[in-house]
Amino acid sequence: MAFGLAVLIFATLFAGAALYISLVEHPARLGLHDAALLAQWQPSYNRALPIQAGLAVVGSLAGILAWYSLGGWPWLIGSVVLAANWPFTLLGIMPTNKRLMATRPQDAGPESRALLLKWGNLHAVRSALGTAATLIFAAALLSR
């Protein structure tokens, strides 16, 4: 059971970080004016990226190990859901990220704000994937 709890910890760390960004950080920064909004998002995103990417990788690998050692398809399904953050980020969010990173804060305006609104919606998908993986892992643990 200890191994299953460890997998759950990685998934909840990812979900907690992602949900905080969706529910607290992003709504709050949207209250800033355009230049400050972009100036806050750029360094914040650079710092959050390795945390989220690392947790998704470690959590997914731990879930696969749990599937191998404990048995039960929910461990593998949860791992796939958590790992899905990577392709979704690379294919779905990265084009928006690149445009936002290429914009200087002094050039920010309605277009960069619209991109950040879109980014918030895209990030909500990551929060949902993290929450779904957490619930699947919790169900796997409870079904033992």
Binding site: T12, L13, G16, L19, L23, S44, R47, L142
Partner: protein, 107 residues
């Protein structure tokens, strides 16, 4: 499925989510706060503090309930008593620090 396992899962999910939130604040969002002049930070917090207040309890309450319950059910086993007790003590220290230091500063 036993009540004990459910409480273990609540404790793990709650503390993990809370740790994820605090990790984001500490490593990502906190640096933005530090970059603001004190007056701007206080203004920002006065306007946006409610987001934090209505989000954190969703992680904190299951964590507290799960840890107290897990400690209760694991009391007869020394390793479990030590581990769940340590986790609960850490959460209690965090809450005390928040109450006596962060809370008054925020207001």
């Amino acid at each position: 499925m036993t009540l004990r396992l459910i409480l273990n899962v609540f404790a793990t999910c709650g503390t993990g989510t809370l740790a994820g939130v605090l990790l984001t604040i500490g490593l990502s969002f906190g640096s933005y706060w530090q970059s603001l002049p004190p007056a701007d930070f206080l203004d920002w917090f006065a306007r946006n503090g409610q987001y934090v207040g209505r989000t954190v309890p969703f992680a904190l309450l299951p964590a507290l309930a799960g840890l107290v319950g897990s400690l209760w059910f694991g009391w007869s086993s020394p390793p479990q008593r030590y581990l769940w007790g340590s986790a609960l003590a850490c959460l209690a220290v965090m809450l005390i620090l928040t109450a006596i230091y962060n809370g008054p500063l925020n207001t």
